[in-house]
Symmetry: C2
Subunit: 291 residues, 2 copies
Amino acid sequence: MPAERPLLGAIEAGGTKFVLGVGHGPDEVIEQQQIDTRDPATTLADVNAFFARHEGLAAIGIGSFGPLERDPRSAQWGHILATPKPGWSQFDLAGAVARAFRVPVAFDTDVNAAALAEARLGAARDAAVSVYVTIGTGIGGGVIANGAIIGGAGHPELGHMRPRRSADDHGFDGICPFHGDCLEGLTSGPAIKARWGESLSHLPTDHPGHAIIAGYLAEMCNTLRAVLAPDGIVLGGGVMGTPGLFERVIEAAAGSDGGYFALPAAQVIRRPVLAPVSGLAGAFLLAADLL
Amino acid sequence: MPAERPLLGAIEAGGTKFVLGVGHGPDEVIEQQQIDTRDPATTLADVNAFFARHEGLAAIGIGSFGPLERDPRSAQWGHILATPKPGWSQFDLAGAVARAFRVPVAFDTDVNAAALAEARLGAARDAAVSVYVTIGTGIGGGVIANGAIIGGAGHPELGHMRPRRSADDHGFDGICPFHGDCLEGLTSGPAIKARWGESLSHLPTDHPGHAIIAGYLAEMCNTLRAVLAPDGIVLGGGVMGTPGLFERVIEAAAGSDGGYFALPAAQVIRRPVLAPVSGLAGAFLLAADLL
C-alpha cells in the first residue's frame, strides 16, 4: 500500500475570483471553493478561513494574476507588482499566506500554473516543449520545457507581442494602455467588444471579425513556432469558446506558415483538456514540487 | 592535480565553411582548422583527415547548418533535412562522423551550439533564460534555459517570424522563398543588398535603412521578451557588425516596449563575447555533455 500523499493547498488567484482547493493533488481534490476578489485584506480573510478548516497542510501553491515577482533571487519575491487593481500593487501575497499557515509557499503566474498542468497532465502531455495561452479579458501564457516552467527575471507577457496588422482591420487603434494595438489590445475580449460592440460569439458567423481575430491568433501561433518549435500550443480562455474559432486559427496558421515548420499546425495547436481548473491544478503541482 | 580531461572533437558545420577543432574544451583547443563546404563526400574526407591526426577522441560535437533533425526519438536523427545546398538534403552528417570514428556524436544546430556557449561561458553567463540570434546571410537562433538547449520536435526558426512592416519600408516584398517578408526576408544581409544595393555598413549613416533594420530587430527583441522574459538576448552575425546598429536596436526596443517588461532593453540586449568561435565552442560543449 502506498504511503498517504501529503495534504496540499492550492490557490488560483484571479483578478475577479479566487479558486481555493485542498487535496492530495489535482487528481484528488478534497474541498474546493470560489470567492470574489476584493481588496487584499478582505480576500485574504476568506482564504485564511478556508485553509484553517484543514489541518496538516504540507505546502500551498499559488498561481496568481500578474504582473508579479516570481524570481526567488529578488527581495520582492511573492509580491504583486504595479497593477490597476485597487490595493493590490506591491501586496506580498505569498508572504501573507506563508505567515498565516507557516508552510512552504510556491508562487507563480496563473498562466504558468495552467501551462504546467496542461503540460504534465493535459493537452500537452506528450510534448517536450509546450506553450499555454489564454485569450480572454486579457491574454497571457506560459512556456514549459521538460516539465518545468521556463522563466528568467520576469515572466512571459505573451499578450504584448505585436502582430502584423490585418488590412481588413482598419480604423481601430487597439485598447492596450501600454502598447495600443499589441495582441491583447487587438484580440482580447474587451478589444473585440470595443471594436464591434459584441463578443465574438455574438457576432454573425459571416462577420469579418471572425477571420480577423483568427488571423491574429494564427500569427501568434506561428511566432511561437518560430521562436520555440513547441510540440504543443494550447489555446484556452473565454474568447476561444467562440464556435469555429479554433478551426479558423489552425487553418490560418497552416495557410501562412509556408510549410516551413517541423510539425503541422493542426498537430501543434490544441484545445486545453483541464479547463476550467487548469490554473488550480497547476497550483497543486507547484505546491507538490516544493516537497 | 586534476585528472586529464578527455579529448574532444568539435565541428561547426556552416553552409560555406566548416570549422574543425580538437581539444579538451573551448578553453583548451589544441588544433583548429577551417575548410570550405563542398559536396558531402569531399567535405567529409577533409573532416576525417583532420580528426584522424588525433588519437583517443572521446566524443565529437557537431553544430550544423539546418534545417536538421535534432530529435533523438526520430529515425532521421543526425540528418540534414531539405536544403537547397547541392547533395546535402537527407545527408546523415552525424552518422557519417560516428561511423568514421566510432565515438559518441552530439548533433544540434550551429545556432543552438552558439547559444549554449554564450549562455554557459559568454555574454549570457548570468542569465537563467537567454536567446542567441545571428543576423547574417540568414537569421537563426537558439533558446537556453538553465544551461540546456530548449527544443521540441524541431528547432527554432527565429528568422521566420513576421515583424510588423515599417511604414518607411514600402515597395519591397522581401526575399524569403517561403514567407516573402518574414524577418529573414527583410533584414538578412542578402535582403539588405537586394533592397538598397549595398550592405548596411556601406550605406551612408543618414540612410533610412539603418533605422528600418534596427526597428525590425528591435521588434524581434520585444517579441522574444514577451514570449520568454529572457535575462539576455545576444545578437551576433555579420549584419550586427554595422557600426551603430547595436545601439539603434536597443534604443528602438526601449522606445516601443511601453516600459512593460521586467528588465530594461539595455540590460537584456547584448553583444556576443565568444564570436567568431561561439559555434565551435558550443560544439565542444555538446561533445562534453555526452560524457
